[in-house]
């Protein structure tokens, strides 16, 4: 039985295909359309899912959609009625989309896909919960979901057991820790729903002690947190419930200044605000998790929703809460709800037993040797080809050890926002200048943003102060841990200002060539760690096809590209060089 899961129309449209409860393919629409966070109907992602299994829509038994559109519309109308007449602008701008697209999903599916079968609509937060619990290794777990907003819900907790999920309590819109985080992200001059992780990366530069950070006390005025983890925002400081601009004038006054313009320098005040926000978010999450533990009596925890991407706090969960194990979906945002909706439909709604655990995030398209060779030949690219996998791995390791920046394009594309060794830029973490080189020549991004390390799972404890045993979400770069002190000066390029690193651990069965590459680099340099950053120009999605990868290399300072066993040097193809810096933006 094939079930197609779909999420779209808000942000991060995606599609996922499951067969008899096993996830076969999943991808975000943005990777095909090249528009970041593309929210339009994910036709390309759906076509990929079907093509990957050689099937058509005729074979699809159910389509599962990730939310209840009419409930969401009810919430929207409630906002407009409550906030009349201030909500006029958003009413006029948002309603056409609802009338033309969002309320017509069954018609859209029939017209665009020729699909006449049943459609199942799954509650948004249930899809979040399912995307984590039903593909986790746990048979029993406490479930907590936190995001901007679904239909009405922004935060829930509950319990999962076997096939079933039960969400007990909720916090309703407009009170949302996710929207608080997004509001401050917008206040600090970064793009909302896109750059929250930058604010997380900025926070260690601020004062991370509650007593000494004046903005912590100021921001505490906008949120009332109860001992049981529930919270409520003072909506006088926000405008997202009626306007298109998130921070209100009252919030700007509270934080001693207007919204930061993107070209404005980041000051200590901005850093302290980021730190205050991170501390408050961690306070809320800790209280919610403690309450969920007390209510569920489970030692296992699954997290879902966009707030679950706060990897700085995730790294503290096991050491600061009673939970013994944690699992988080690699695509915990709305895109991941396509898998959540599909797997919930199969296991919970239709009642089939669970038979799948998500071991890796390589669910996207791969390209064959023939396809890559045809592309290179047709485009007149100068390249060479390794004779074997071993030669490819050892040569690439030597290139990285020689301080070259290498684009690594192998196998199936990753699912989720992180590059995990299928579409990655790899470089030498021991070079103290590598962070600067990557930021200025390749990624064109803010200087404060750190790069992330990748290490083989069996070496991780030597270099990082991780939880023991190492939690599975570390495989998806969802946990931040301290770099052990004696190694911080050895791998400066991946050590953040507070001594931490958002590491990826890799196990050999997940990605053998990536694992072997890291080991080989370790044999050459003595340090089996690489810098792993996403293979894209700033402002663009991660590359998907050979064309995207080649174009990215030729427009940046990436020295060479290893695509399966093909090696292409940028300097060998000057006729295709172009400058991406003018395009680089959020």
């Amino acid at each position: 039985m094939y079930i197609l899961g779909i999420s779209c129309y808000y942000h991060d449209a995606a599609a996922a295909l499951i067969k008899d409860g096993i996830v076969l393919a999943a991808a975000e629409e943005e990777r095909f359309t090249r528009r970041k966070h593309d929210s339009s109907f994910p036709l390309n992602a759906i076509n990929y899912c079907l093509r990957s299994q050689g099937i058509s829509m005729n074979e699809i038994t159910y389509i599962a959609f990730y939310e209840k559109p009419l409930l969401k519309f009810e919430r929207l109308l409630s906002q407009h009625i409550q906030m009349f007449p201030r909500s006029f602008k958003t009413f006029v701008s948002s309603l056409p989309g609802w009338i033309n697209e969002k309320l017509r999903l069954p018609k859209t599916l029939r017209r665009q896909l020729g699909y006449k079968g049943p459609i199942l609509f799954i509650h948004h937060h249930m899809a979040h919960a399912a995307s984590s619990f039903l593909v986790s290794p746990f048979q029993k777990a406490a479930v907590v979901t936190m995001d901007g907003v679904g239909e009405w819900t922004t935060t829930t907790y509950g319990r999962g057991e076997g096939n079933h999920l039960h969400l007990s309590k909720e916090i309703r819109f407009p009170h949302s820790i996710g929207l608080l985080y997004s509001t401050i992200t917008g206040y600090l001059g970064f793009s909302v729903n896109n750059s929250e992780y930058k604010v997380m990366g900025l926070s260690p530069y601020g004062v991370m002690q509650r007593g000494n950070n004046e903005y912590y006390h100021k921001l505490k005025k906008v949120i009332d947190i109860k001992p049981d983890g529930s919270y409520r925002l003072d909506m006088r400081y926000f405008t997202y419930h009626y306007g298109d601009r998130m921070p209100s004038a009252a919030l700007c006054e509270l934080l001693d200044g207007p919204v930061r313009r993107p070209e404005e320098a980041i000051t200590q005040r901005h850093q302290d605000i980021a730190a205050a926000l991170q501390m408050i978010t961690e306070e809320v999450m800790a209280a919610v998790l403690q309450h969920a533990y007390e209510q569920s009596g489970c030692e296992n925890l699954v997290l879902g929703g966009g707030v679950a991407l706060n990897s700085v706090y995730n790294g503290k969960i096991l050491s600061s809460t009673p939970f013994k194990r944690v699992w988080i979906h690699p695509n915990a945002t709305d895109g991941g709800n396509s898998i959540g909706a599909a797997i919930y439909a199969y296991n919970a709604v239709l009642g089939y037993p669970r038979r799948y655990v998500l071991q890796d995030a390589y669910l996207g398209p791969a390209y064959s040797r023939r396809e890559i060779k045809d592309f290179l030949d047709n485009s007149g690219v100068r390249y060479s080809e390794f004779r074997s996998e071993d030669e490819c791995v050892s040569a690439t390791a030597r290139l990285i050890a020689g301080d070259l920046v290498v684009g690594w394009f192998q196998g199936r594309m990753e699912w989720g926002p992180r590059a995990l060794g299928a579409r990655s830029i790899l470089s030498n973490p021991c070079n103290p200048h590598m962070q600067e080189i990557l930021n200025e020549k390749v990624k064109h991004r803010e200087k404060f943003r750190p790069f992330a390390p990748v290490v083989c799972e069996d070496d991780a404890l030597k270099y990082f102060d991780c939880d023991v045993p190492i939690p599975e979400p570390t495989d998806f770069m969802l946990m931040v841990y301290p770099v052990r002190e004696q190694w911080r000066s050895v791998i400066p390029a991946v050590t953040h200002v507070d001594g931490s690193g958002r590491l990826q651990t890799i196990r050999r069965h997940q990605n053998p060539s990536y694992y072997d590459l890291i080991k080989e680099f370790g044999r050459i340099t003595g340090v089996p760690i690489l810098i792993n950053t996403s293979f894209n120009i700033r402002g663009e999605p991660i590359v998907c096809s050979p064309y995207d990868a080649y174009k990215c290399m030729m427009g940046t300072g990436i020295d060479c590209l290893v695509m399966e066993r093909f090696l292409i040097y940028r300097k060998d193809n000057p006729q295709h060089a172009w400058d991406s810096e003018s395009l680089a933006k959020d």
Binding site: N44, Q82, Q112, Y231, N378, W578
Partner: protein
């Protein structure tokens, strides 16, 4: 295969295809304006209301400009229909080397189509805005006033320090299959 005949990578700024696309888009917008003007003129002529062509042209231009300004104010996202998506996907440049003359004509034609759609979108934005403003004032407004008089609150906007907890009952579990066919 020898070296490529092209000197630039598709999609990069300042490339020939970007300039041709922009030219096509501008001409498409102007063509849309011209066709709309002629259409209006024909309708008025057939209904025996004669207005000078220049006046109609100016009115059509004003409608389009107003629509574009409203689009900027309300920040309406132009939803890509699947047809447009499929069209773009089909025309995505997979082979950098194949820059034949046909592709340049193709880029211009794409721009022309985009210009037409832009004009139509501007006019529809203006019409939508006017209609929605009427709905907002005549439907949402009175509902809001009645709700305020009745003391009904759809959103809770302020903390209540005297409350021990803000958790609300949800009790969401697996329901009957029929519930999932509903969009609510």
């Amino acid at each position: 295969m020898g070296g490529s005949e092209i000197s630039e990578v598709p999609g990069a700024p300042g490339q020939p295809e970007a300039q041709l696309y922009r030219l096509g888009r501008n001409l498409g917008f102007i063509s849309g304006w011209a066709i709309f003007t002629l259409g209006l003129y024909l309708v008025l002529y057939l209904t025996h209301r004669k207005l000078p062509l220049v006046v109609i042209a100016l009115a059509a231009g004003a409608i389009a400009v107003a629509g574009k300004m409203l689009k900027r104010i309300f920040g309406e996202r132009e939803a890509l229909t699947s047809k447009t998506q499929a069209h773009l996907q089909k025309n995505a440049k997979g082979a950098i080397g194949e820059r034949l003359i046909g592709y340049y004509v193709h880029d211009y034609a794409q721009g022309l189509g985009a210009g037409f759609r832009e004009f139509g979108s501007a006019v529809s934005t203006l019409v939508n805005t006017l209609l929605l403003a009427v709905v907002y004032i005549l439907a949402v407004g009175p509902t809001s006033l009645i709700a305020k008089f009745a003391g009904k609150k759809f959103l809770q906007n302020a903390p209540e320090p005297e409350n021990e907890s803000y958790w609300e009952e949800l009790e969401l579990g697996t329901g009957k299959r029929e519930e999932y066919y509903r969009q609510f």
